[in-house]
């Protein structure tokens, strides 16, 4: 860059007196790409360090202490983790988180793929349909979850009223009342909310597949299913992989949905690790123990990030 500027400036410099630029040296230093990029990165980096880094490191620090609200902190080393290892509710929340994440991600991936394939077609009102299908993801989670609370209400809720009025059921289901149904209900809401994320991302991937590939496949005699299997799916796999990893991360750390809908559910049956950490810290005032639960989620996050980085670097 410097050489090109120099070459184009040369005649101008010869034409008049050369005067050194104000702060010339400093400006030259700043305009170096390596320096400039760090300069641009510094404000957001500081922001992240302050609002993400500081709470994170404080949480790590807290997890090694017995720290109750309004009480002094006493160092317990790995004591909190030992307590958690013997806590059946902690293990229940781990199991719940895995079940919740696994089921919801599979449903979202399949549903998102279907949604993307539909949205990729040309039909009337395509634009407005796409906008409407995005709504679950855009509406603030707390708002939509409160609405779902009403939908699931055993007496007045939409689902049970429809079931009872249509004669399909005498009294409807106990959507949030029984441990199994509560987990199913929570998975349904998470799937409803996360589907557009998959749909939109996979749609973007679909639109990068060259039309010629489809055309040549059709010419070679491939039917719709064959085209999907041999043209669409292989091209989509990278997108699906990345989106799935992101979704697993977001779903694993989900808090709002479960907190609003069931608060951890009947007898801890929908407690995720995030809601359990909150319940221990804010509910029971045991900040050290809550931080330890939160910290025990980090290895999973680390693993997923490593996986994602490996995959991206591979390309």
């Amino acid at each position: 860059m410097g050489r090109v500027v120099g070459a184009s400036r040369a005649p101008a410099l010869e034409a008049r007196d050369y005067r050194p630029l104000r702060f010339g040296r400093l400006r030259e230093f700043v305009e170096r790409e390596s320096v400039f990029s760090w300069l641009i990165l510094t404000p957001p980096l500081l922001f992240l360090l302050l609002f993400l880094g500081y709470p994170f490191f404080y949480g790590v620090y807290l997890s090694f202490f017995r720290r109750e609200v309004t009480g002094p902190a006493t160092f317990v080393g790995l004591g909190n983790f030992v307590t958690l290892a013997n806590d059946p509710i902690f293990w229940q929340s781990v199991g719940n988180t895995i079940k919740f994440t696994g089921a919801a991600t599979v449903l979202k991936a399949l549903g998102g793929l279907g949604m993307a394939l539909v949205m990729n077609q040309n039909f009337k009102f395509k634009a407005i349909t796409r906008a409407l299908l995005l709504l679950p993801f855009i509406v603030p989670t707390v708002l939509s979850t409160v609405a779902w609370q009403w939908i699931y209400d055993p007496g007045l809720g939409l689902f049970n009223r429809l079931l009872v009025e249509s004669g399909l059921s005498k009294s409807g289901f106990s959507w949030l009342g029984s441990p199994t149904m509560a987990m199913i209900s929570v998975i349904i809401v998470n799937t409803w909310r996360g589907l557009p994320f998959f749909g939109i991302s996979i749609l973007a991937g679909l639109q990068t597949i060259p039309v010629e590939q489809h055309e040549s496949a059709t010419i070679d005699g491939a039917g719709t299913w064959d085209r999907f299997r041999h043209v669409t799916l292989p091209s989509l796999l990278p997108v699906i992989f990345i989106v799935t990893t992101f979704s697993v991360i977001l779903t694993f750390f989900d808090f709002q949905l479960v907190y609003v809908l069931t608060g951890g559910g009947p007898a801890n049956s929908t407690h995720l690790m995030a809601t359990y950490a909150y319940s221990l810290s804010m509910g029971a005032g045991q900040m050290g123990l809550g931080s330890a639960v939160a910290l025990s989620m980090v290895p999973v996050l680390g693993l997923l990030l490593v996986l994602l980085t490996w995959y991206v670097r591979k390309d």
């Binding site: 109750e68 009480g71 307590t83 013997n86 806590d87 059946p88 509710i89 209400d153 055993p154 007496g155 007045l156 106990s174 949030l176 009342g177 029984s178 441990p179 509560a182 069931t262 608060g263 559910g265 009947p266 007898a267 801890n268 319940s279 221990l280 509910g283 029971a284 005032g285 045991q286």
Partner: protein
């Protein structure tokens, strides 16, 4: 917990009897949903005629009198049934605290002393229509209890009301037990299929972990 608050007393034959009783109660007299209820759900269930009896403060009658007058006319209150060890009610005190690190703790304490004086306290309690019951003995014969006779059982509750930690003292550990729903979950698990002994054992383990 025991009276000293040191030993876990939940592991007993009485607890087994209670859990078995609650299992029967749940199966025969409660709607399935109640194990997933949060605070407002029983009010809602009662006011929408899903249930006809519940354990609550008298807020349900207040809502009914305002929004469902026909129901409001027939609602009444009664004391908890008596058990083999006596009649008990849960006392949920609303208490005041002064932060020691505040700019003027003494002024805050003086204010509390002032507001608890009968001259200020009576109108304050009256303005709540006796929803908040004054439980200092000086106010035992509070005349406002007679305004709505159907709330008089709440006045009688004070005679048998106990803090939820009773007979143990109420302390931070007990707060953790309440906030982590340990005893409630014991009943919920038993009602949803966990064997009684297992549900009790799990609650005892957690109590031991909390009380240390």
């Amino acid at each position: 917990m025991d009276k000293a608050g040191k030993k876990v007393a939940l592991d007993s034959s009485e607890t087994v009897k209670v859990v078995e009783y609650v299992k029967r109660l749940y199966k025969e007299a409660c709607i399935e949903d109640c194990i997933g209820w949060l605070d407002p759900h029983n009010n809602k269930a009662f006011l929408t005629s899903q249930i006809s009896c519940t354990n609550n403060a008298y807020s349900i009658m207040v809502s009914a009198k305002r929004d469902l007058p026909d129901m409001g006319k027939v609602i009444d209150h009664a004391l908890n049934p008596k058990g083999p060890a006596g009649r008990f009610h849960a006392l949920v005190p609303v208490t005041h605290g002064v932060f020691a690190y505040g700019p003027d703790p003494q002024a805050a304490k003086d204010f509390l002393r002032w507001i608890m004086d009968p001259k200020q306290y009576r109108p304050w309690i009256s303005s709540g229509d006796m929803y908040f019951a004054p439980y200092l003995h000086a106010f035992d014969k509070f005349p406002d209890w007679d305004i709505e006779p159907r709330v008089k059982p709440f006045q009688k509750v004070l005679e048998t009301g106990k803090l939820t930690s009773w007979p143990a003292p109420a302390n931070r550990a007990h707060g953790a037990v309440i906030n982590r729903w340990i005893v409630i979950d014991m009943f919920t698990k038993a009602c949803t299929g966990t064997p009684t002994k297992t549900a009790i054992a799990e609650a005892v383990t957690q109590l031991k972990q909390i009380y240390g």
